[in-house]
């Protein structure tokens, strides 16, 4: 494992090394120490590699990630794994706002809580939060899955498209056009596979509820014409 120290090396140098990995190199395992809340650590990685970040990180950690597996032993700031395409990001602490925002693929696992707007405009990512999420989570979520083992804040799934929300606890309130759905066998299996990804015991599978789009905002409703 190659150790990178952000107290000694600049963030730009560390990110440059990880973003432009020597294709022939077999050293694909890195540990970053002293992140000290710096922003954009591990942003734009595009090769298969394992990176462990030891400590708390600032904004946009592992943003735009492709293929890499990033683990954070600490908390992360706004926009962790935003616009991720593939790969995985595992946050051992809590995440701030907009975790997994607009991400197209890959897996984001948060062991703690996330604050507001978790999975905002998500487009295919799987997000598994072992704690609770804040208000406006899964706002305009287009596809992918958001699993919440705790509770959710106000307006969960507001203006949601075809993403699925699985929640064990209770949402404080639902956003516009978000409704509770019946879970069929396929949904159960999907949830099972998602929990497995986050190493969550299968026994936890019970009591999850599923939410999705009521699809009433998809087309203009002529009855609302006077509202505009």
């Amino acid at each position: 494992m190659i150790k990178l120290n952000l107290k000694k090396d600049s963030l730009r140098k560390v990110n440059d090394l990880l973003q432009n990995l020597d294709q022939k190199s077999n050293d694909r395992s890195f540990k970053i120490i002293n992140p000290d809340g710096n922003h954009a650590i591990c942003a734009g990685l595009k090769e298969e590699m394992d990176v462990i970040i030891d400590g708390h990180v600032g904004y946009y950690c592992a943003g735009m990630n492709m293929k890499a597996a990033v683990t954070v032993n600490g908390n992360v700031g706004t926009g962790v794994a935003e616009n991720m395409m593939s790969g995985s990001v595992h946050v051992k602490g809590n995440a701030s706002q907009s975790a997994g925002a607009t991400a197209h693929g890959g897996t984001l696992i948060v062991d703690g809580d996330t604050s507001s707007r978790c999975g905002i405009s998500m487009k295919g990512i799987d997000i598994i939060v072992k704690g609770s999420v804040g208000h406006m989570s899964a706002f305009m979520a287009q596809s992918g899955n958001l699993v919440i083992c705790g509770d959710a804040g106000d307006a969960l799934g507001d203006s949601i498209y075809e993403a699925k929300i699985f929640i064990k606890g209770e949402p404080k309130s639902l956003g516009a056009d978000c409704e509770k759905k019946n879970m069929n066998k396929k949904d159960q299996d999907l949830l099972k596979s998602l929990l497995k990804k986050a190493s969550i015991d299968e026994n936890q599978l019970t009591n999850f509820k599923m939410y999705g789009s009521a699809r009433k905002l998809y087309n203009f409703n002529i009855d609302n014409v006077s509202e505009y």
Binding site: G55, N94, S96
Partner: protein, 293 residues
């Protein structure tokens, strides 16, 4: 954008390091606000003594000092950069009217515990100019400003103090400050600038002067102050933080057994002793958190 920081010491052994810690916090927040900076330091009050933090605009400070000493017999004047702190046992009403009689003096804040300094320029230079690292005290608030709705001047810089031992820093902007300014002025609250944050400071002063606690005043503010904000407010007893209910503006709190640190971003507090062993959390939207005696 703007960066805000606050530090409340629970353990007296760090009192001498307050300025040093706050310097690091403000330096790390200079990226969020490069236009101007300011800070308020609270130290243990001396009985029957008041401190007046004053910004002077001209170089004739010797003459000002001489004249002030004539008018205020026990005046002790400590000059730091373009500010001086005047210490006297004379009551505020009298001293404020004396200060106002000087065109080139601008009272930044006063009280038995508070000292406030603010200046235009990069926060790294500002904290250096005021030798912040040498200050000791019990709690402190700092601000690094990215100017949006009013000019880059000392008047437009934070913290704002509109009452004895009070101060406020703000990340965000208010949309109903003009109306509120008129209402508060009618109630006798003095607001000097066109800045939105000073109105919020006036709102808090009004609440406190009506014998409300800082916490209750900030809870009322959630209804009355329209806009987006994270506020850190200080009194001589402690600090409070509140975020509006939408919570677009960031804040992180780290509480250890020795201190409570508040900042816009974690990187502002990464250098504090044992911060990683503390409880680190984001204040919930629309909830007031306070620490103090």
């Amino acid at each position: 954008m703007c960066g805000i920081v606050g530090l409340y010491l629970k353990n007296k052994k760090y009192n001498k390091d307050l300025g040093k810690f706050l310097t690091g916090m403000m330096n790390n927040m200079s990226t969020r606000g490069p236009d101007s900076a300011g800070f308020a330091i609270y130290s243990t009050e001396r009985k029957k003594k008041y401190k007046y933090s004053i910004c002077y605009n001209e170089n004739n400070i010797k003459e000002i000092k001489k004249n002030l000493s004539k008018e205020i017999k026990d005046a002790k004047i400590k000059i730091i950069s373009d500010h001086f702190v005047l210490e006297t046992s004379l009551k505020p009403l009298k001293v404020i009217s004396i200060i106002k009689s000087y065109d080139n003096l601008n009272l930044v804040g006063y009280g038995s515990s508070i000292e406030i300094f603010k200046q235009v320029g990069n926060p790294r230079d500002v904290v250096n100019n005021f030798s912040l690292k040498n200050f000791s005290g019990t709690h402190a608030i700092g601000h690094t400003r990215m100017a949006t709705e009013s000019a880059i001047t000392t008047d437009g810089s934070h913290p704002y103090s509109t009452g004895e031992d009070e101060c406020l820093v703000h990340n965000g902007s208010l949309s109903n400050h003009n109306n509120l300014r008129r209402t508060l002025k009618k109630k006798g609250i003095e607001i000097k600038s066109q800045n939105d944050t000073e109105v919020a400071a006036g709102y808090i002063s009004n609440g406190l002067s009506n014998k409300k606690s800082l916490k209750d005043t900030l809870i009322d503010g959630l209804k009355d102050l329209d806009g987006f904000y994270t506020f850190i407010s200080g009194t001589k007893n402690g600090l409070a933080i509140v975020r509006d209910e939408i919570a677009c503006k960031p804040a992180v709190v780290a509480e250890t057994k020795d201190y409570v640190a508040i900042a816009s971003e974690f990187q502002a507090m990464a250098h504090l002793p044992n911060v990683n062993k503390g409880k680190i959390f984001e204040p919930e939207p629309g909830l007031v958190y306070s620490w103090g005696k």
